[in-house]
Every structure is written in C-alpha cells, then in structure tokens.
Symmetry: C2
Subunit: 251 residues, 2 copies
Amino acid sequence: MPAKSATVISLHKRIRSEIEQHILTGEWPPGHKVPVEHELMATYDCSRMTVNKVLTELASEGLVQRRRRAGTFVSKPRPPATLLQIPDVKAEILALGASYALRMLSNQIRQSDPSDMRRLGVMTAREVLAMRYVHIADSAPFALEDRLIDLSTVPEARAADFTSDPPGTWLLAHVPWSDAEHRIRAINGDPEITGLLDLPANAACLVLDRQTWRGGAPITAARTWFPAESFHLVARFQPGSNAGKAHNNQA
Amino acid sequence: MPAKSATVISLHKRIRSEIEQHILTGEWPPGHKVPVEHELMATYDCSRMTVNKVLTELASEGLVQRRRRAGTFVSKPRPPATLLQIPDVKAEILALGASYALRMLSNQIRQSDPSDMRRLGVMTAREVLAMRYVHIADSAPFALEDRLIDLSTVPEARAADFTSDPPGTWLLAHVPWSDAEHRIRAINGDPEITGLLDLPANAACLVLDRQTWRGGAPITAARTWFPAESFHLVARFQPGSNAGKAHNNQA
DNA sequence: TCTTGAATTATGACTAGACAAATGCAAGCT
DNA sequence: AGCTTGCATTTGTCTAGTCATAATTCAAGA
C-alpha cells in the first residue's frame, strides 16, 4: 500500500502535470504513444483508477486521444477553439471553393529589433523570421499578413517551405501551442494596406492580431488585414470551462 | 448489486445528461443545491465514485460549484469564455473608469415579423422585445446596440428594468445560456449609424452580432456597432476542450 | 455577547479489485 | 496472396469500500 501522507499536492495532479510537461515541451511529440495505464501504475505506484482519471481528463481536453487496444497518443496540434480556426486562411479559402495562392512580399531572418521584441512580448533579443505576404483567392487578394516567428522556440521554421502552405497553416500543423491571444478591431485602412488588397483608399478593414505561446515561450505574432464587407468571423461556443479571460480595451 | 446489462449508454453519461437537463431547463436555477452524493447514489442505485465523477466533471466545466461540507450548487450564469465578456458593455465601460449611461432610442413589445424571425433563427411567430439604444461612456456615445429578446424563452424580461442595467448585462446576470454565436466584421458605417455614434460619415465600425440559446430555444439576438480605432476586442485562451466550431464566411 | 473548539457532514483522493467492449495482431485457412 | 477468426491487450466503466480534509454548526466556556 503506497504511502499517501506528506503529499502536499494530490497524486493525480502531479501525474497530470508531468504528462502535460512531456507533451508541452515537445519531448512527446504529436503521435507519440503515452505509456499504457499499467506502466503508469507502476511508475507512480498507484492504482489504475488514478492514472485513468488523468488520461481521461487529458483526452476530454483534446490533449491526447485514446483507442481501446491501441493505447493513448498525443494529439496532433488541433484546429481548435472558438476563433482559432480563422488563422488558417488557406483552409478557409479552399473551403470556399476558391483556389489558394501565396504572394510573398518580404521574408528575412534577422536579430529581433525593439519593435519585434514588443510584438512578441519579450525583453531579450533573439533570431526571428519576419514575413509579409498576401493570401490570394482565385487570383484576387484575400488578406494581408505580417508575421514574426520566434526561431529560438521554433527552430524548425528555419527550414520550412512556405510556398505550398502559408506560415499560419504550417505552424498549426507542426507546433503545439498552450496559449493564444487574439485582438480584433476595425480600422480605416491606410493607403499602403488598401493598395496591397486592391481596395479603395480609406476602406474599412478587419484587423486580427494573433499571438501564440508554448509554455511561456512565444511562438509567433501575426497581424492579418481582411477587407471589410466581404469577410466576417464566426464563432460558436458553449459556456464551458474556458479558463481564458477576455476583455477589451480602448486604444 | 445493480444490473448493468442492457444499458446501451453508460450510467455516468446518463446521470450527467439528466443533471444538465435540470440545470439547462431552469428547473434547478443558479444557486440551487444539487442533491448530495449519497442521495444521488440512492437515486441512481450506483456507487459514490460514479456520481462523484459526474459532479467533478460538471464542476470542472463550471456548470456547478462544489464546497466541502456545504454541498454542490448550480453556478450563476458565468461571465464566461473567450469573447463573451464583451457583450457586457456596461462592465467594460466601468472598468475603464468612465461613467455609464444608457440612452434608449426605441423599445417595444411586438409579434415577431419575418425579419425578427430570421434574426432569431426561428420559423414560428412569437412575442419579442425589440430595443435600440446607445451605450454612453462619460457623456459620449460608446456603442450602438439593436437587440431582440424572445419573450417566450425569457418571459421575465417583460418586467425587467433596463434603466440601470442594459439588457445585455441583465441577461448575463439572469439567464443561463447553453450556446452562443458571435459574428464579427468591419463595415464602413452608413450615415444612420455614424450619426448616432457621433462619427464622421463612412468611418469604419466593428460590428458584433451575438446570438444566444438555452437548450434549443433562442434567448436573444443583438447587433452592436463599435467605433473603429477607439475599440478592440481581446481574447485569451487555451486550446482546451472547446467543443464549439468556428468558421468564417464571405458575404 | 463573543470566541473557541469539537462534532458532524460533505467533498476529495485513492485503492484493489471486477467485468465489458473494442480492436490490433497473428495464426491458420482458403 | 488474401481472408477469416480467435486471442490478447488496452481502455471503458463500475463497485464498495478507506482515509483525509475542509467547512459548517453548535455548544461550552470566557
């Protein structure tokens, strides 16, 4: 009988956070097989119900997937919650039945300057991949995107090919994230923006700022301009356990 | 020993959905005490672990709150997920340190016309409360709102006083919801809108369409216009178990 | 009256089993 | 080779308890 005294934190919480760590740090990448319940029983010297509780929780949150006889596997970074699907502009365009193309306007690897550091919310310099490109649907500009990727968090991005999949789609498919933030607002477009989107000067645009983290480390910061009137965001949801806090601000 | 054969659906799922029904239909209003675990054990003729699993799940999703010795209670409709806090414009304005006021432009109870029915997504006529008003922050227009409340779902709204709390705030505090949908877009405001918000003609606005349901029944449909540049929406979230599906559309 | 402290009660955590259901795999058959 | 079938593995669900912990209630004492 395992001693249970002196455990300040409950056992299942400890097991849970250890497994989460394995997944979040990338030590257990998507598709990796999590040890079966009997192994975890042995590892943590506890009963099956305890590890089952943990794995069931993680599965209900989508972090892992479980299949009888097969086992438990780390989920692929999921196309997720609420407003999150939107950043995959390529998938959205294809879903509309249009053809997708990417026009890269600029693309460089550089040391982060103060403005980059502010966008990523970090204090120290690092290498970043900075890009600006236009999403093209059926030969017409669909959205303009300005993106920064933190290469110290996502070194794989250095070798990624963004001609078939745009950076947002590539990141969704390859990098698991633990936190995200969206800022949405409307602007009267300035000539630089409207010009790239083939819009009349002063046309309204929907601007989506998106930032993601993995653990505490920044993954990417992106700003996307969508032409107004031709585009809107939809989100459906249940009250659920969303721990995220939402608020709005005046600039 | 309870028979477990012939149960096509698992026991804890059945218990769970029954309790959810009690809450969602309003039979167990916010603050209502859920039977203690031993009572539920007797009701469903099962072990404590089974009802505990159900109640723990519901608690983790925020539907109920549990306190040792006190018991389990239905949660107050929570100021919830992702972008949901935004609709409480009054709270947002007060949080900014400004004074709040409501200017009611129109307010009537009527049989729903075809346009109302489309907004609420229903096929049959019913009584609705239709309002248009401006949220005022420090004597200046902050947002314009057009709202429809389905009085067959929320008969209490008939007697509600919207001079201190605007309808959105009142609903958040009084009516639990099970589903919501947001549509967000930017528009170049037409003169009617910009006039009411003291904006130059053609100024960009952020438009938020919000609709909520309880069970399958519509609660309310609201459209809010926010001046661009002075306002943005922020949402932070984790990948979590958000069952909601999100997508975007072209109009 | 106010405070302290103990009894009570409900949840929280966990165990050590049980049987059911699904499914991947391999052995055997065609 | 391709197909079927049975078996072993793994998760899914559930039981009937134990001990721990928090918090409310209530009564005794200052």
